[in-house]
């Protein structure tokens, strides 16, 4: 466990580049690269050691390469002071990086057909996933959507890695006008998909889970919740998820996720505490549920 656990390191920036509407930063981080499995993320300190911006920013790992002992690339859009600061980093600057964090995408044992669905920058973790699936002999198809053409991400890479790649934009500036779920059903049927992987905003994950369910295909979703720590201690990134025992718990996206089985996430209740969640106001758990709780492993 500890060998696969996250590390905290000061990493030199190898390069910062623009990718359409996003920035991509590559850091030299051998400890993170060697432990990485697709779907995991890093958190990055912003503003320096004396910054008044305290909280680390989480980013899905987009690429890992063996250069310089191991490099890690993550992508982001400038949204506030933290990401603006990051976009101004230059080669050789040091970044405080923690990772890899979170549960990775589970990979199928057999060479099955997988469709990977991404929304905006949520597409980032799907690229190393596609490589891992291809190494297992899986067929990979991509469905990537975004608001506009400059936010569809790595279209060329997607076309190169995947059997097929379908793109959608809200404004029709690239690919099909509409949303990923408008084309997903067709892709699942044409590719005879056995599994769906999705990453993006919560409404998209909810819609993708519904489409996958209609086609009887299991779906793994990677959520993008805001979090303060990324390590499992702050309890601010919780969402309601149904466990294997049928009990809904408020679980931490950072350590219990970010990858969950889509049908187990209670999308309608995200942001609230469902009345039947373990420990909700007025909750009266059975003795069995309590016993199960102490047997559950944490982090």
């Amino acid at each position: 466990m500890s060998d696969n656990g996250p590390v905290q390191i000061r990493c030199p920036v190898l390069n910062v580049r623009r990718v359409d509407a996003y920035y991509a930063i590559t850091v030299v981080a051998p400890g993170v690269a060697e432990r990485f499995r697709s779907g995991q993320f890093v958190t990055v300190g912003v503003g320096g050691d004396h910054s008044s911006t305290l909280l680390r920013r989480p980013f899905a790992i987009h690429d890992v390469k063996p250069d310089y002992g191991g490099t890690v690339e993550f992508l982001f859009a400038v949204r506030g002071t933290g990401t603006a600061w990051l976009s101004e980093r230059r080669s050789r600057d040091l970044l405080d990086v923690v990772g890899p964090l979170g549960r990775p995408f589970p990979l199928p044992r057999d060479p099955v057909n997988c469709v990977l669905v991404g929304g905006g920058s949520g597409s980032a973790p799907l690229f190393p996933l596609a490589q891992a699936l291809r190494r297992r002999g899986c067929r990979v198809d991509f469905v990537l959507g975004a608001a506009s053409s400059d936010r569809v991400f790595s279209a060329i890479t997607a076309r190169r890695v995947a059997e097929t790649a379908v793109f959608t934009t809200d404004d029709g500036s690239f690919g099909t006008r509409g949303q990923v779920t408008d084309v997903l059903g067709r892709v699942i049927e044409e590719a005879r998909s056995d599994a769906v992987y999705a990453c993006g905003p919560m409404p998209m994950l909810r819609a993708v889970t519904a489409v996958a369910g209609e086609h009887g295909v299991p779906v793994q979703v990677s959520v993008e919740e805001t979090m303060a720590c990324g390590t499992g201690i702050c309890m601010t990134c919780v969402i309601p998820v149904v466990g294997e025992d049928g009990v809904t718990r408020m679980v931490r996206s950072c350590v219990d996720g970010p990858v969950f089985r889509g049908e187990r996430v209670r999308f309608d209740d995200v942001g609230s505490i469902p009345f039947d969640a373990l420990g909700a106001p007025g909750w009266k758990g059975s003795k069995a549920a309590r016993a199960a709780e102490s047997a559950r492993d944490i982090a």
Binding site: L54, M235, R249, L278, W283, E293, I298
Partner: protein, 313 residues
């Protein structure tokens, strides 16, 4: 130089003064992936309640200048799971446990005090007084009224094993923190932890809605450090023999020096654990170096040093 870092909280001795703040370190397990949890003074565990609690709805957190607002609503698995799973894990790794307890009334506080103090290996109990008082018509917290806070402390003290020290967790959101501290000590608290988060609010100017669910959140981080240091200073001045665990925005070893100079015997790292998962180990190292560079041989010699050097011209 071999600096003596040992400190005492009533009958409990800790190997050094750096501990975690309640709610900022789980029960140590997550942070143990980044440093050896047995090396710090103690882990103050997330407040445990009698029953499982799902906590509050989202959003639970908002970043603010040099701090954060949070409102997790004490999500946790309840005392059964804590005693069966979390506490044994911490002790098995050589960690020391200050167990924070939170009750919905006197009955719960009493039962929690009894059960937690009877578990082997608990170094101290910290009483989370920032819980709504069911007897208060305005829904105020126990800590908002010195008499209510004292009643809780007295209940906990009488139910806890006598050799387990009881620390009262104080808030700075009160008219007179010295009056509150004195009431808790008269109710036989063995020590005081201060300060808890401060009530605050941030408003999203785009939506014109409060940034955290429920509106009010607890402000933590370096933004509240001067407030915390001021409280520690005033309480130590009034009650110089009562051990204090100082906390509020501790980020570096120098910050720990500041709290101890104000009168704290131990110093808790809170929000900084979120931004730097190895912060406790770093703060301890920096604190040790700070003592060595000043030629201070014993950490306890630093406690209250600012009172002895005068308040300046």
């Amino acid at each position: 130089m071999n600096t003596d870092l040992r400190i005492r909280l009533g009958p409990a001795e800790l190997p050094n003064p750096v501990v975690t703040a309640a709610g900022c370190a789980g029960a140590g397990r997550e942070l143990a992936r980044f440093f050896d949890i047995s090396t710090i003074g103690a882990v103050t565990t997330k407040s445990v309640m009698l029953e499982p609690h799902a906590g509050r709805p989202a959003p639970r957190m908002a970043e603010t200048p040099s701090g954060m607002l949070s409102t997790t609503g004490m999500q946790g698995p309840g005392v059964d799971v804590f005693l069966q799973r979390d506490l044994p894990w911490l002790l098995s790794r050589g960690g020391r446990a200050i167990v924070s307890i939170a009750g919905t009334g006197m009955g719960e506080f009493g039962e929690l005090a009894r059960r937690v103090s009877e578990a082997d290996g608990v170094s101290a109990i910290e009483v989370n007084l920032a819980c709504p008082d069911p007897a208060d018509p305005g829904g105020r917290y126990f800590v908002d009224d010195p008499a209510s806070a004292a009643a809780v402390v007295s209940t906990v003290r009488s139910h806890a094993r006598s050799d387990v020290p009881v620390l009262a967790k104080l808030s700075a959101d009160v008219p007179d923190v010295v009056e509150l501290a004195t009431a808790c000590v008269e109710a036989r608290a063995d020590g005081l932890s201060m300060i808890n988060t401060v009530r605050g609010m941030a408003i999203d100017t785009r939506t014109l809605r409060p940034a955290v669910a429920g509106g009010i959140g607890g402000l933590s981080g370096p933004a509240i450090r001067p407030l915390a240091v001021g409280c520690v200073y005033r309480v130590h001045e009034a009650l110089p023999d009562v051990p204090i665990v100082g906390m509020g925005g501790v980020r570096t070893g120098e910050d720990a020096v500041e709290f101890m100079a104000a009168g704290a015997s131990a110093v808790a790292v809170g929000t900084t654990n979120f931004s730097d998962p190895s912060a406790c180990a770093r703060v301890l190292r920096q604190f040790t170096e700070a003592l060595e560079s000043r030629g201070v041989e014993r950490a306890v010699d630093l406690v209250g040093a600012a009172h002895r050097s005068g308040v300046g011209a």
